[in-house]
Symmetry: C2
Subunit: 202 residues, 2 copies
């Protein structure tokens, strides 16, 4: 059984991450790692599926014990990814997807240098603006905040390995490009050390 | 017009480089860079196609003027790749293939850090041995020398970016994998700087 890859997918609100991740998950070799949170479960939550729920104290213990690959506090609640879940999924041969924001992504890169950091981007700024407004659920203030946030993320971009462009109506193409990135990465020399050893020892 | 990629393909004698390169060239976005040599043209040579022919003195001038991306002396004759030919092909949007040995490959990497160094490998040592013997044109001494050379090349492998395995009868798959590597590389953040600039300046 070959070890799976670790894939971090980030991108501005309106980049279409949710759709692309759903498309990737149609391939059973891909799995998302379930996040752990200290927030209260909501009616539509399924423990162990949408999130793993712990108390605030338990979450702080996990931080202190170095059990988290990344975490962040958002509106008073903690959200994070246990190292153990990532490792178990990868060992079982799954390509593990983490859909997280930039600061979490950099924490992952520090702990898993082999992780593939992929930035999903709308084709242009205008499209980003249109997508955010098109949702209809956001106020103008909200939208402007998100657009400003998108510009601020620029400084993190250099830490990403790949930029995949999600063209209008072509989420399947973006997903296919991500699958290609993962497939090609497995041919990189750093992942072929067993092959090289076997080849020259015979 | 997007700049083409520079692709170095190396591999032991018997790895099937010739076949794979021929398959890549069926796609017109791929071109081989014609080498320059100081050896005498032979009856089947076509100047400017098989090689560019220069005198030994002219070749030494090219070395002294830093015009060569890589060169080597083999059985008393010089063989090398002019930097200018690589740059012109890449600028015209072509993916430039160099089929060269390990020491030349490392010279290329030093001069063109963005070059993709690809090691084409038979699936296993036994296959390599069989392929070399199957040619029938080589003496036992010759074959053993080539097998020893293959083992010696191991120390260069870490400088290659990818190892592509050329399975028996599947050269088309190996060529397709190389095309995927080139395509995926164009999505890497280092090649997306124009996209990022355009995106955030609008």
């Amino acid at each position: 059984m070959n070890k799976g890859s670790l894939i971090v997918i980030s991108g501005p609100a309106g980049s279409g991450k949710g759709t692309v991740v759903r498309l990737l998950l149609q391939d059973e070799s891909y799995k998302v790692s379930v996040s752990t949170t200290s927030r209260q479960p909501r009616a539509d939550d399924i423990p162990g599926v949408t999130y793993n729920f712990v108390t605030r104290e338990e979450f702080i213990d996990m931080i202190a014990n170095g059990e988290l690959a990344e975490f962040a506090e958002y509106v008073g609640n903690f959200y994070g990814t246990p190292i153990k879940s990532i490792n178990e999924l990868m060992k079982s041969g799954k390509n593990v997807i983490l859909e997280i924001e930039t600061q979490g992504a950099l924490q992952i890169k520090a702990k898993f240098p082999e992780a593939l950091l992929i930035w999903l981007s709308p084709p242009d700024y205008q499209t980003l603006d249109t997508r955010l407004r098109g949702r209809g659920t956001n106020t103008d203030d909200d939208i402007n905040q998100r657009l400003t946030a998108a510009k601020r993320e620029l400084q993190f971009l250099n830490y990403y390995d790949f930029i995949v462009i999600n063209e209008k109506g072509k989420a399947d193409e973006a997903a296919e490009n991500i699958r290609d990135i993962v497939r090609v990465d497995k041919m990189s020399t750093k992942h072929r050390s067993n092959f090289v050893k076997d080849f020259y020892n015979t």
